[in-house]
Symmetry: C2
Subunit: 342 residues, 2 copies
DNA sequence: TTGAAAGCGCTACCAT
DNA sequence: ATGGTAGCGCTTTCAA
């Protein structure tokens, strides 16, 4: 197919060759000048960058990838859209990507595992690495990545078998919540948790109950509910319907979005929060801090987590065989009116 | 750099050439066989696809793009993460992309305009087109796309000057809301709107007030508030503080997330919704249908909008010079308890 | 029905 | 300090 077909003969995009002819130098000189190679004379460099600007040259990232092996593209996999946490993670990732000059390929959203086909997209588009937040990765998909040296970093969930990850210190954070509830006089506890135990959920639950156990409290009620607002609301209704003697006076919902549902569910059934029951969550979503909730929770340092995750990824892009690295960052206890009134 | 450096000599990825040697045919035959070219004999085709499977061949999308011109990549630009609408749009777009076999490059999130640098990424990664939802595109960025024949389709906002777009019929939808409020006996109206008037906001506002005007109601109160929950909450407080005679008995918040804030703000100030004031929104977010809100609103047919948007994009990928096309889809009125009790 | 070869745009290497 | 050239992996003519 030549230039002459079609109604309008549109100008072909300007490439390094175009510029090289314009400047009367070799293509390689163009490349070097534009990427700031110190061996190029200031004069030549200036002439070339002037030309590049004038002709609106934009490098073709694909061609570059083909010859250099690096695409500047990172894959990202997000958890379900029903949890605002992932919107915030995505936003943080976008900002971080921009600051380090790379782009994000959206691969998957949802609770289900990332499938084989998605993993193949990682290869097809030659991503330099992939950020996995929450959604589990299928073993087949993980194999594909390993076989092809695509670095993977998990955020907000630990790698099941091996791999690098960045997480909030879920155990310690949950411990802070337990201590706070004990200090404010609560004695009868319930944990609302997702039925399938992710590492994150497990750590939060254990961190919570261990502190209680240390304080001599053993019997913690456990209720299984999927992790959305709707399920939390339903759980709130169930808690509200309990007999006087059975009803807990403090509830730890393993995520904020769940906790928000619990609060609404309790209130809809006439239970006062925090007077009758205190509710605490985990994540530190901005939504959970609205006046209607003022949720006591542990704030995950999302931006820092994302920053670290990209650092791990970048390092493994340069050297795939670096050993796995695990980063745990402390969360900050936010005390709101969902657990005490003053 | 040869294969021999590094600790482990990892196998080079299998390519068409690898397969061609294995099968004893030319590389072009591999390409043809794998893409189902009818000229290849069934026997050869089968042998080749068996080999491809056996050796785990994955085509390199970048190399393909370089020679064919099509990347199978679409850019996407989203509005601010504080509005769940965009999470739902993103999810719908992911599903649609999967069903047509392409991938999404996340370009920008937020209210600010998509900048020049982002537009350049469209060229660098040779995207086949770009979906713009809500965030305005800078004129410079639009120029870049036009000059380089990158098709653009807007969703949920009309193109300012020219360009294709898909939107919900905002005027008609808002009209439905007005009619409903009139039918349920409301007579004193307020519109809560964002200070900067987007086309979407304008259409909704006009569609609403025109129906009111037809019913002989002229004096509609207008309050300017940015479009998040927080601002809605503040607006609710302001409405609650109004004098008996001035207070409207029905409020149209131009988006659901804003309406949710308004409801919470009113209730926090002791105003009953819907008894004292009816509140309606626009979007049809799942969040707005929670028992705590049960918002009366107009549901945008998001999945269908996204489907149409991709169709427009695909068509313009094949022929950039197709005329602009505008699609408007009707929204569905959802009547909830935020506007009437029964 | 298949092969050969050119070329997409860029970079890296080896010369000079 | 700069030029020349091969090659990344795939597709697409043109030939056979």
């Amino acid at each position: 197919m030549t230039q002459e077909d079609g109604a309008a003969a549109r100008p072909r995009r300007v490439t390094v060759v175009t510029l090289s002819k314009l400047a009367g130098v070799a293509p390689s000189t163009i490349t070097r000048a534009l990427k700031g190679d110190p061996r190029i004379s200031p004069k030549t460099r200036e002439k070339i960058s002037a030309l590049a600007k004038e002709y609106g040259y934009t490098p073709n990232a694909l061609a570059r990838t083909l010859s250099s092996g690096r695409s500047g593209l990172y894959g990202i996999v997000l958890g379900p859209e029903s949890n605002p946490l992932y919107s915030h993670i995505l936003h943080a990732a976008m900002d971080e990507a921009e600051s380090i000059g790379c782009r994000l390929l959206m691969l998957h959203i949802g609770m289900e595992q990332m499938d084989e086909k998605t993993a193949e997209a990682l290869l097809q588009y030659q991503v330099d690495g992939c950020l996995i937040t929450s959604a589990a990765i299928g073993s087949r998909a993980a194999d594909i990545c390993r076989e092809n040296n695509v670095p993977l970093v998990m955020v907000n969930r630990v790698a099941e078998r091996h791999g690098s990850f960045v997480s909030c210190d879920n155990r310690a954070g949950a411990g802070l919540l337990a201590k706070h509830l004990l200090q404010t006089g609560r004695r009868k506890f319930a944990v609302i948790r997702p039925p399938q135990t992710s590492s994150t959920a497990r750590d939060r639950e254990n961190g919570f109950t261990e502190v209680l156990a240390d304080a001599g409290i053993a019997g913690v009620m456990r209720l299984n509910y999927a992790s959305g607002w709707d399920e939390g609301y339903a759980a709130g209704g169930v808690l509200a319907g309990m007999l006087e003697g059975e009803q807990p006076d403090a509830v730890f919902a393993l995520s904020d979005i769940l906790a928000m549902g619990v609060i609404d569910g309790l209130r809809a059934a006439g239970i006062r929060v925090p007077q009758d029951i205190a509710v605490v969550g985990f994540d530190g979503l901005p939504e959970s801090q609205r006046p209607t909730y003022q949720l006591t929770t542990v704030e995950q340092p999302i931006r820092m987590m994302i920053n670290r995750a990209f650092k791990l990824l970048e390092a493994r892009t340069k050297d795939y065989f670096l050993p796995d690295e695990q980063v745990s960052l402390g969360g900050r206890l936010l005390i709101g009116k969902s657990s005490q009134l003053t």
